[in-house]
Symmetry: C2
């Protein structure tokens, strides 16, 4: 049935919504695809639901093609399974928790590893039952600290999540490869460029993991790639550390008055002026900056960590967040921020502006057996034998020629520094360039973590019980709608690729004559009969300008204008993306448009 | 693609699940359609999800056919709109409530009147935009006190809910009629017998309302019908009250010792033995029983109410629950139970076993201006002039000839008595019979309640602002799957009607010969090519008995057995519901089965 604009539940907006900071959000709201219900929580209007359905259908087909079987789990789940794996706690504030009328604890699931593991445990007992790939397309919940950008980072969102179960590592590798292939095909069919990057798996645990990032300026994720083919998200990039240095010729550490050196630059200038280095001038890279970080654990506990890094680098909090938990012996999601004045006040052993590890290994301010007791972590560039200018823990004074390994040692090495364009790829494939992207999918080799925690075992060919190995694979389905809007729009509105467009053809009657409306209605009906999905702008008293504007805003790939050409027996067929238009005889319009829609 | 049982994520169970009290629950779990995740919360396995999808498709088609437009709202919603309509409170303990990380209140929506009202308010401004019918098929939440019977009464469940918006009452009536028609078509296509009964609308507010009940012994709802066509749920049945009686000849009330009369029967016997009535013997219907009820309001407050009714009737708590709130001046869902010992102890004005309204209108124990202050409500049969034996509020004593209107008066009349088979239909259409049913759908004329609360107005033809009038219409989609399983099963398992079956044909290879499996696989593939949806039991070492048992448990309408008949070139085609089987030449099997599936 032809959808008529006079009937469709739609109202386009001239004004951008006040809270919309990215184009996809702005246009999806203005074009009547979605509406905000609460921060990070959206309603789908008819057009949006249609696009969402087309995206879901593509995901479903490709998942079925690799042998995925669709199931559907509840969103409201009991605490117990998440308690066993400790994720009830590890998710921290990101988890929506609630109690039922009997005071039992429940959560709104952000992901379903536990439930799938328990289901397979409940159903299967033998290696012969495996592999099995299960998936669902389902509403997920995550209490984001900063929901933003409409559907790009919501608190209620739709994901396809799948889980593979295998008896051995080779099986897991096959499952991982199958999903990787399916994901690349899904994004190709959606028309969504993605880069597969190495990732750290964060709270999910497990070993190998890749993200599929859609490169765009509005993306929240930064990733790197080299001309030689390396790609990783910044959290996963490892630093090419220099070899350790022979420090036998380095002078003893010496503390000097360094008044008026509030910044690295002034410190370097002061050092070169009064304490020049014998071989070359001091640079910012010779200073050891010690940054105090506050880490909030999943339990809510706040821990202070100090990170030492070359003064020409900045700390990247997202990189810190990805791995600092390991150094504190905690699993799960931690939140990281610069330490507050209160944090510093609570740690009087640190002299603000002049923090350093101390000048002797046997009585350090920071580092192994330090007097402050704080965890001290170093950037990988601070290798043994390197000599540094750093704070002396005395106001107005710095220590010079402090040498790593000789004069100070840390509790660990952390990838904390920002990655910069031009840094070397860890695999030797050349310098890195940086780009931003939206995380569209994520695949993980979970391994045996969840199966172990929840005791999922099967009998192998020898009748021996073995722990099952798992993979978990997610695609942001609602996010894909936003990413597509981001990738396919111009200043006039949306411009959907054919595979996901809400309609194939947008028929428009422009003019006042009844014969124009009659011809347009007939054409719309004929196109539907020919198997196309048609929206018809039949509004009787709306100006052509408004109709054109709405068509461009809605973004159906092809518009057919039935208007003043009708007297000559032609209609105008216009491509939304290119703006190109062609006059086509009305009698040939159906055949022509079938060809256009089929892409021939 | 043919679904093979060696690949399908399925494990049938021989044993009934311990918590399953009805056939649908038992069989859906045993046949691997669903699995319990928490009380009243279920996961859908591949077969269950397929049936659910078929039910959803039928609902969607019929909703679209009446001009319904599909949208999708969040399940997680902010408190504010529900606060405006007072449902945040009125839902009481049935609502799942939670807080986000910023301590803002949210709920898991049990129904979406508020959100739809606000959406239309946000989009539309003129009567010309109306009518609009919007619907969604969506996951709903309700923290049931007693989740039971698997999918029949869950806490997370799937509903189709729709909402109509009209500028005038005639429009609402058309919307209501359109939905009523669509519902009848949906249930007919599903193969689900339903009875449309008049209903009280409970917490939803509004005026006209009907329930669609599927008659079955396992239903939780009791309804009545008369041969003359009256049908209502018991909560909505009104009593045919007798005309008031001239009490001028009734003796004055007199209090008598009535020792050893702990029951109505003993009281009647005592009355006839020692205080005989002049015209006929006393019967239980002449005694006025006063039942003390505890009502929990949505706010959690507990109120005591006393209900007087003829001694031959019992109180029906569900009927009380439906309307007692009105008498207490509260809206929303109340919970009702018999008063506890503690409740009675807290009301010493009531003498347990001998409760009565008192013997004088100017100093009543119960009733208008009573000394207890409790609300006293009477059954409609207690009309003015009727004379009663009832408690004297003194241990061991009753009052006789206490006359309604003359000696006592209540605070109101309530439909509190159980409805009995043989009671007269209120519309004069004859005696009622009682039946049990499952509520499959419910349609309401909400009227202007929500539009008024949330200020949804449009301009009418004269440019005057008018409040929109609404309807709300629900179908239990996941519940329909259970009701179908309830309606279509036998002792061996499920027996789906064709329109919702997970597959059209179940092909089975029985025997050991490779040629049998080859022929069965080929037949399955040919049937799929012919457009049928096929499951193929290809398990190589499973006995025919187990395969037959599983086929009967799974309930695909038609089974094809490829086995020993193959040497004679025939396969056996068996109807699951009737058990009838026919030998069909293998060469004709595809054509034959196409006919069977098409119903010809």
């Amino acid at each position: 049935m032809v959808t008529r604009l006079t009937q469709l539940f739609l109202r386009t907006l001239r004004e951008d919504p006040a809270d919309a900071d990215v184009a996809s959000h702005r246009l999806l709201v203005r074009a009547g695809y979605i509406r905000r219900a609460a921060p990070g929580i959206y309603s789908w209007l008819p057009l949006g639901l249609k696009v969402l359905g087309r995206v879901e259908a593509i995901v479903r087909e490709e998942m079925n093609a690799i042998g995925g079987q669709e199931v559907h789990f509840p969103a409201l789940l009991p605490r117990e399974p998440y308690e066993v794996t400790n994720r009830w706690t590890e998710y921290g504030e990101n988890l929506f928790r609630l109690k039922d009328r009997r005071d039992a604890d429940y959560l709104l699931a952000p992901t379903h590893e536990e439930m799938f593991t328990l289901l397979v445990k409940d159903m299967y007992t033998s290696y012969k039952d495996l592999p099995v790939y299960l998936y669902q397309i389902q509403t997920k919940y995550r209490d984001e600290a900063r929901p933003r950008a409409g559907l790009l980072r919501g608190r209620e969102f739709i994901m396809k999540d799948s889980y593979s179960f295998d008896a051995d590592d080779e099986g897991l590798q096959r499952a991982y490869d199958a999903h990787r292939g399916a994901y690349l095909r899904i994004f190709a069919r959606l028309g969504l460029e993605v880069v597969a990057v190495n990732a750290v798996s964060g709270a999910m645990g497990g070993s190998r993991s890749e993200e599929f990032l859609h490169p765009t300026e509005v993306g929240e994720d930064t990733f790197v790639r080299s001309a030689g083919g390396y790609a990783a998200n910044v959290e996963a990039v490892t630093t090419v550390a220099p070899a350790s240095v022979d420090a036998s010729g380095v002078p003893d550490a010496h503390i000097e008055d360094t008044p008026d050196t509030p910044t690295i630059d002034t410190l370097v200038a002061e050092a070169n002026a009064h304490f020049p280095r014998e071989d070359r001038p001091w640079t910012a890279a010779d200073t050891l900056k010690n940054v105090v970080i506050a880490v909030t654990l999943p339990t809510g506990e706040r821990r202070i960590v100090v990170i030492g890094l070359p003064g020409d680098r900045a700390v990247d909090l997202k990189r810190v967040e990805a791995t600092v938990g390991e150094h504190l012996g905690v699993t799960g999601e931690v939140a990281v921020e610069a330490a507050s004045e209160a944090d510093l006040a609570a740690n009087p052993g640190l002299v603000k502006g002049y923090i350093g590890p101390g000048v002797a290994l046997d009585a350090p301010v920071l580092g192994t057996r330090s007097r402050t007791g704080l965890t001290y972590l170093l950037d990988p560039r601070v290798v043994d034998g390197t000599r540094w200018i750093t704070g002396a823990n005395q106001a107005g004074r710095h220590v010079f020629d402090l040498t790593a390994g000789r004069d100070f040692a840390a509790d660990g090495v952390i990838e904390a520094s920002e990655v910069r364009a031009g840094d070397q790829a860890p695999d030797g494939s050349g310098p890195l360039e940086l780009a931003r992207g939206i995380e569209m999918g994520h695949i993980f080799q979970l391994g045996r973590k969840y199966a172990e925690a929840l005791d999922l075992q099967v009998l192998d060919a020898n009748g021996k019980r073995v722990i099952v190995t798992m993979g978990s694979y997610g695609i942001g389905v609602s996010r894909a709608v936003a990413a597509l809007a981001e990738a396919y729009h111009d200043e006039k509105g949306l411009a959907w690729p054919r595979n996901v467009a809400p309609f194939d053809v947008h028929v428009m009657a422009t003019g006042k004559g009844e014969e124009i409306f009659a011809a347009a209605a007939q054409l719309a009906a004929d196109l539907e009969s020919a198997g196309l999905d048609v929206v018809y702008d039949d509004r009787p008293r709306t100006s052509p300008g408004v109709k054109f504007g709405d068509a461009e805003l809605l973004g159906v790939p092809t518009t057919v204008v039935v208007g003043r050409g009708l007297v000559d027996g032609v209609v105008e067929v216009k491509d939304r993306a290119t703006g190109e238009s062609t006059d086509v005889p009305l009698a040939e319009a159906v055949e022509h448009l079938r060809g256009v829609v089929a892409g021939s």
